[in-house]
Symmetry: D4
Subunit: 247 residues, 8 copies
């Protein structure tokens, strides 16, 4: 119920003052005691809720999947384990699991994606994060081009893909170690680059902090950065951009 509608109801007497106050306060979420489900989230953001599986108890996880599939006919979770997949699969036979991206989803009726997001990764070890980004964007309705293993130490591999990268509405650049990929891509394209540092590497990579700093300090324009290993976050904002471009 929008504020104007509520006030109109109040004015015409179909709503009491107390109810109006309660409505104004309570609008937008359901209080479940230990959690406040943000029920206005999809309306506000245009995106359905997504499940962060890591650390959830077995029972709780299954009940969330069940409830979301009942409501929406589909569900999408990140950072799931094979064990969690087993639990959900036992309940919902159409559940699928990708051990690389660790995405556990129920998505029986897929539609063709719109627009184009390019997901570009530096090394094969960055693919789990890249796939989390790619599958997130696909679940949210975008078409995705995957361009993997084109790190800057063999720059010809990346350059040979320039046309594909340039044709995307948004590029997701995924790289660990020194994270230089984003800067090179930033110099090649017209459209925004969302950079995802990964924790791939060792020694002074500081669990991805070094790649994050590289990307934040990029000499190229048109680059913004999300958290280390946050493929989901990159897929989300890239979808927002892709939607603007295709609406």
């Amino acid at each position: 119920m929008e504020l104007r509608e509520l006030l109109e109801k109040l004015k015409d007497g179909s709503l009491s003052i107390d109810d109006a106050i309660e409505n104004i306060n309570a609008a937008g979420y359901t209080d479940m005691g230990f959690a406040k489900l943000d029920t206005s989230r999809e309306q506000r953001s245009g995106f359905p809720e997504v499940i962060f599986c890591s650390g959830k108890t077995d029972e709780y996880l299954v009940s969330i999947y069940r409830k979301m599939v009942e409501n929406d006919g589909r569900a999408f979770g990140t950072r799931a384990t094979a064990h969690q997949f087993g639990l959900v699969k036992a309940e919902i036979s159409s559940a699928e699991y990708d051990p690389v991206s660790r995405i556990l989803k129920v998505d029986p009726v897929r539609q063709e994606g719109a627009g184009c997001i390019a997901v570009v990764s530096a090394g094969t070890a960055d693919i789990p994060v890249a796939e989390e980004a790619a599958q997130t964007a696909e679940y949210f309705g975008a078409r995705v081009e995957r361009i993997y293993d084109v790190g800057v130490s063999g720059i010809h591999r990346l350059l040979s893909q320039t046309d594909r990268i340039r044709s995307a509405n948004c590029v997701i650049a995924v790289a660990g170690m020194e994270g230089a990929l984003a800067s090179v891509i930033g110099g090649l394209v017209k459209n925004p680059v969302i950079a995802v540092p990964t924790s791939v590497g060792y020694g002074a990579n500081l669990q991805g902090l070094s790649a994050l700093l590289t990307m934040i300090n990029s000499c190229a324009n048109g680059i913004a950065v999300v958290n280390i290993d946050n493929g989901y976050g990159a897929g989300y904002i890239a979808t927002q951009i892709n939607r603007l471009a295709t609406r």
Copy 2:
């Protein structure tokens, strides 16, 4: 000259092999000895070159402005001083300077901006960075809504602007100190948020690093981050997004 065109010329004999090689190699920049002007940049990126005034010698700065105005009829520089403005103004009478954003530009024929970018800042001390972002976006052709001084410690100020913020194709959230603004905005809007940490604050703010970490770790979706105080970079990527939405 595109690669295909070049090869066609080579095949039909209108170009020698040596010229072809030189063309392939040299395409895209002009070598000036100490610098290599990236002449293909605007074509590649869709954005004209911009001048980072800080630290440039007087002579060099003036000559760059003169040359850019000759070529394009306009010029745009960031992080300029009042002294630099005096120098440029003496040469180009239509030069303008904004001491808040420190932008020094020559832009006599302005066109109305397209689309909408909301630039939101937390405190008045963040306005210099916010203005750098806003004026950058305007110079690149976007319409900008400024919503300043709506930091989260008086959350009602921000919430009262929700409709204006939601109507933008992209939101630039500028905040120093603890940088919490981006997370709250991220939860209010459908479209992407570009977060700009500023170095405003003291003590444990670590010259903006603290706000950067806040924004990178945001619990809200649809947020990506640029470097500390990098208003220009935020204005640039926001323009890219706004162009996609308005093309």
Copy 3:
């Protein structure tokens, strides 16, 4: 024995000089060889001793619980494991364990809490720390209002609780990831806010350091910060404040 009393006894001859010195020196703790039990602690601080269970050997832990229950009729420990609960339960049948907050206590005769402390948490993953704070405050005699899962990315959830939060003598704000919750609450209330950063998050959250920096740099007034995940410490100081308000 207070200093004045001791000196009076010395003057009237009922205490020897050597005894006086020993008394002055030894007052306030019991030397157990490897440890010096701070026996004057409750008198000095107004709070009973609490057991930090983590890392204690089985025998030692059980003996401490037994001794404290003998002396005070109750006992309270933090960061306990289920295994430790088993050990104590075997000795003291009224022992209780909460696997969420990891609090292991013996507290058979509870009294109604006085005053009001609001414990507010950002996400469901922050609940263990929030519960450690809440149960600590309750054990020390405060009434607690729990307001969980009201993180700033869905700000309407928090705002709908404004009245409850404002009515507390002290607010404990518990948040991981970017930790922005404390700043928003700080702007809503008259009374002090004790902020507890949690280690919830990943990547650049630096095991809670990022949330700690956010809270220390808060743009709102009336906020002070305790260590990462230190629910106990927050419950303690909030109780001190609540006692001042209700005495």
Copy 4:
């Protein structure tokens, strides 16, 4: 105008829907273009606005002081320079300046302070921050006990003040270098300790970060920490606590 009142007016027809929306949205601040004065702040927080003088332009600073004195008969600013004092003094003859704490205030009719806050500092070099805390608390209506230069390297100086420290409703512990003062005080008192790390020191003190870490990790209970050199913030929260104790 409270929400209920507004809704009642709406219902009885004395307010239009559009006005109601505007009222709901706009309540609580005055939009001055570049800034949004938080006019509901004192009502919400119980504290008047305070001026952070550092970095403000001359004109702007004077106009703020003038306006605040007109409205409230008094004004209080932190981190002011002697130059700024001259400017304000020329306008408002009753303005006073303390070069140690750098507080610039207009406060002609002082009332006796209520309750008691002890401000304890480790070294003489910490006095500027301690005075900012003390004078802030006094301006907000608290009585303050100053106990300075009682650092832990001569612990007898601190211990001799135990009674005065214990009698306060709240203790502000100000220390730079290694910041150990807060832990010792925490073990001596019943009431809360607000710890303020200062940037006093050199070498590995990391501009106060080292003292901040010391205080956050304190082995004593009842300690919470504010930002480095944030005397104002400590005075503020201590006043909140003192008010609870004296209401």
Copy 5:
């Protein structure tokens, strides 16, 4: 063989030039292929070699113990496991192991210690490091006074031990969490204090780095710091000081 002696032998013909060169070069260690045993170490430093057990292979460990006992009649190792004790015990029946300090030694004929080193620890959790320091000093011939669990949050416990602490030639102050103990002791004694930060704590203690910074920045004089958890190093340098005082 001293240089002068060698040169004299060379001059009088009892040593060839080649032998002299070899002697000059090779003096001071035995080359075992993968390791160069520093055989001149005890002569140079006045201390026998000590075994860092952590990470050593079973066979290698046992052979080192066997060889050292053969040569010197005793052996001393730090950071040993119970498993390693079993292996050594099977070979050398007089081997002893202390699971607290993790010291594994063969030291059948102990002599009374000389002089006095006070080992002072803040909490019971710091005792493993304190014992490593104490037993190291004892093995190297010093008499040790242990004063444990006298952390600064109950300062009376520490102060009651002032005379014992003052009577030592050197004080080893062992503390984790915020590490404030060293500063208080530094203000009480005439003789040097060797401070040992421990990794005891959580959250922002940064695995002991916070305590290290506290100790390095101490406001007291006469304090120098060794590495985190380095009880052995503290026992070593304290022994050096104690030897100077007792020679």
Copy 6:
């Protein structure tokens, strides 16, 4: 196919324009879907591909070894486990594994190394990294002198090896803890020193970051640094230098 050759073919008609474009783009790697094998790498760099075994799936690892041995008759992998060795050995009987350096290689026909690289390590705990460097250099064709356990706390051990160290074309200095070895060697030799910090140590060594900082800040000339524990990288660049010296 070089660019000139390709253009000549195009001109004389033996290659179509489309083929030419494809050739220009595709040259230099083989696209395998999830990975882009950099087939021009050895030609470009003069070094064969090497396998980073850590984290690779069993099947994938074995297939890579099989393919590389088919193509080149040899293969070389770093950071392998004993389990991985078992898998490869079952396929390729000539596979060898060194548990110290964790190198897993197939290299049946070894040739004598050319030139000389000295690999110098500080302690025996640094030998795994030193061996990774040494064996890498040997695999790539260099002769290696190993000089281990010559840390600076017994400087005579290092100095006695001065002649051997000076005779090398390049010195690899491997050290953990404080990493001082590189500076001393840098002052002894004419030729370049490649410094490898190791993660050996504890406490404030920060997993090797401390040694890295030591080496980067060296007061000696002729030192450059690779990542923590990066023996492979040091062996690689030392081989490059050795090849220049011996070509």
Copy 7:
């Protein structure tokens, strides 16, 4: 007045209870309002007070020097400026100033130093810190051997001084950049080494933090570390050690 004496007086009636309490409390310092002069410091520590000149106001500084010279006939201050020297010299004609160490002292009747402290510095840029250490020790009564510019990149310079270094009761090792000097010295001597990191260097030296980490992680035994640039602190603790050795 010692505690026993006081109690005896109380018992025999020559002291009232109130006076006794006051005596117990007040003993050991003089309260000057803003500062508490630690009058029992020399008795407790065996060292006179020293003046940290940096940041002191002109008047305050001069009055302190005057008072100390009146009391003790001498005075010693660190980190003084030439301007401060002028002020003090105008009052006390025998005042001396060393612009290198920045020590400003009044010390007309010098006595020959006892024992021996070796002050060893790596580079000429470290001499100011080394001199602060050396002159501090001399003022406190020690004999000092200066051995400067013997950094490890020319290790023969250091080794040629081995005998002089070994003959000292304590060695102060002063080094910036990578700070490797302490480890080499630690391996050469029997007696304790006090390491002083300096802020000499640039880039990744992090204002001396890098040298501090090097020294804390030293592979040699018998080394303890004071704060960056803390020559005074090193001179102080070295004097303590030297006194023990020479008493």
Copy 8:
């Protein structure tokens, strides 16, 4: 005098034992009281001494230049100011100064450089550091190819220079901001790359630390790193490599 020669003289009586000891000890440097000139440095390292001008007093600087020109006919200093140039020029008329690289040298008879070192820089702001490297290498006898302003955000500029870069014996890669240049070059060349991070940038570049981390974590092989802004150090080690290749 070599050791063998010395011993032969001793044996044949032409040298006394005392002289021999003195010779062994003193060999290799000249003791000037406050400094020990490393006179054997050029012999040991093959490089003449170089002057670090920054922070040297006027007199001292001039005397060093004079002495070096007397001895060697040339002199070379880094980080000089224009003021220092004036001083030296007044003494030595052939002195030259380059305000970009801040090199102040006397080098009247230049010889043609040998071999080839490529100095590649990312942006024009990196040129001062690049020139320090280039001129250092030239002074030490190398031929240098300068390739400036080829940062990765316009990768075609760099790629067009591939042949020139590949032809060098060693490449110096100079870059600030995110420092990605080194990785791309590392993938293009056969020979070693010495990477120099610069402090060019702002915000999260952490004064060059971010670029340093990028380069240390490079995904390309054949890269080693020197300190931030250390153009001299890079020129030095590149010369060592170039000499090996051209000897």
